[in-house]
């Protein structure tokens, strides 16, 4: 599914990722933990193709294809989804219109016709209900004036609509209260299947208590210093990184 080999990444002339190696198999859930500045978000943004995240050397293959040679939008169309830590506001564009446009971008890449308005509304209602998202949220501008919880739920809704094969969640649990965390985690668990893989970046054990990872990796200074099973997350929660 995803192979990262000897990846070195520089951002604003500072090397962040150093000889990073990581393999993620189909259907696996990998959690990435680590102190601030260890490179957790950098790997997320690098995989998504964010400008100014310069890959100095290394390889990344997703589903057997070279990921790094693709434009950011092509990476999405090839099955990668990044749930942002800080979802971006898009004033002037209603959430419903935005969601329909991203769905249609993926349909177009599969040479399918644009989704029918009635069918889209039906799907939107079903998927919004799973996340306790009120339908009136979709008539507001994308993320503008949304609470932290609404923004994160909107990210999960998008990953559900786009049906990606690799989902990277960059601190999706931050900004969620206890109830919203459970609702969001339940929705994410419904997206788990044998074909879809997850990278969950988090500081806290609580999300991993709902979404059980197959592997936990500890990042430090831009590379993986320890890998274990879910018990590693519990140990870090109790003992810290030092």
């Amino acid at each position: 599914m995803l192979e990262i080999k000897n990846l070195n990444v520089t951002v604003e002339e500072k090397q962040i990722l150093k000889n990073l190696n990581l393999n993620i198999g189909k259907g696996e859930v990998h959690a990435i933990m680590g102190p601030n500045g260890s490179g957790k978000s950098t790997i997320a943004h690098t995989l998504a193709g964010k400008p100014n995240y310069n890959v100095d050397s290394g390889e990344v293959n997703l589903n057997g294809e070279d990921l790094l040679s693709k434009d950011p939008y092509e990476r999405s169309l090839n099955g990668l989804f990044l749930a942002f830590q800080y979802p971006i506001e898009l004033p002037g564009v209603t959430n419903a219109s935005y969601l329909k446009q991203i769905v249609n971008a993926h349909r177009k890449s599969r040479k399918e016709t644009p989704i029918d308005a009635g069918e889209f509304l039906k799907i939107l209602k079903e998927k919004s209900k799973l996340l306790d998202i009120p339908m009136d949220m979709h008539s507001r501008f994308v993320n503008a004036g949304f609470s932290g919880g609404e923004k994160k739920k909107n990210e999960v809704l998008q990953m559900d609509l786009l049906n990606p094969s690799l989902i990277i969640m960059d601190e999706t649990d931050s900004g969620l209260d206890v109830d919203a965390l459970k609702t969001t985690a339940d929705a994410i668990n419904k997206l788990r299947n044998d074909e879809r893989s997850f990278i969950i970046i988090t500081h806290y054990l609580r999300l991993l208590e709902y979404i059980e990872p197959d592997y936990v990796h500890v990042f430090q200074n831009g590379s993986v210093i320890e890998t274990g099973d879910k018990t590693l997350a519990s140990r870090i929660d109790q003992e810290g990184y030092s």
Binding site: I88, E89, L90, P91, G92, A105
Partner: protein
Amino acid sequence: MKTLTPSIMELTDNFSIETNSKDLSISHEIINDELKLKITSNYSQIPSRIKLISSNRSNFKIIADIYLNENATLEIIDENDYIIDTSFIFKSFLGSRSVLELYRFNKFQSDTNNSFVHTCNMSNGSMFKDFNFTNGSDFTNNETKINLNEENAKYVGSGVVMSNSSKCENNLEIRHLSKSAVSDCSFKAVTRGSSNVSFKGKVFVDENCSNTQSNQISKGLLIDEESKINLTPILEINNDDVVCSHGAASGKADEEVLFYLASRGISKSEAERIYIQGFLSEFIEKIEDAEMQAKGQNFINENC
């Protein structure tokens, strides 16, 4: 939606007016190349509506004096794609509690020169809703002067300019000349190529104008390196009992937004289009009339 039983008045072989109401009186005379109009609107249960229709046969100049009597409502809609030079000079007089709504959705051919000058005098409790959507033209001049002469007069205006390689000057002067008047103005411009767009928005509040409310915001989006946007807000306030705000900002498209859209599978050109649409649509809700709001949205969508 308002009931429209149109009757079309052909004023010249170049210009017609479609009206829906017998409570409108329209007279006209043609002197040389000028069409002089006198429009008077009286109170009517169904608001009066005028549509300006150009046949684009020859360059024209229209001078219109518009009178709204007490409680009258008049909508003027100019939804034309002009391939000729145009010049409009409007003078309007709004009686007590009357409402003037002016909607302009104009795409101008690139080799034309176009000018729109409007002076509006507003009485007690009157309202002027002024919305302008412009695209194209070698040179466009929009000049609007609002005199809020009496108490509780209210002006709401919004301008949207999309410019590819043109010079477009926009001057709006709002004069608060009586207390408790309200003005709310927004202006947005998107420029490409060798475009040069300017907006000068002046708000004047006279010394006896307590309880004034005024809001003005102007924003510009530069799509490439060559184009220019110059936004100049000017406030002259001579009374302390006012709430006045203004803001002006221009810059390039936010790379973070474009990356967010790309991360969802949207190509660069499509992301740019969505970004521009969003930028220009931010104030579309100021248009309360659903039909006109849809026309404004369509104009933005089709011209991005």
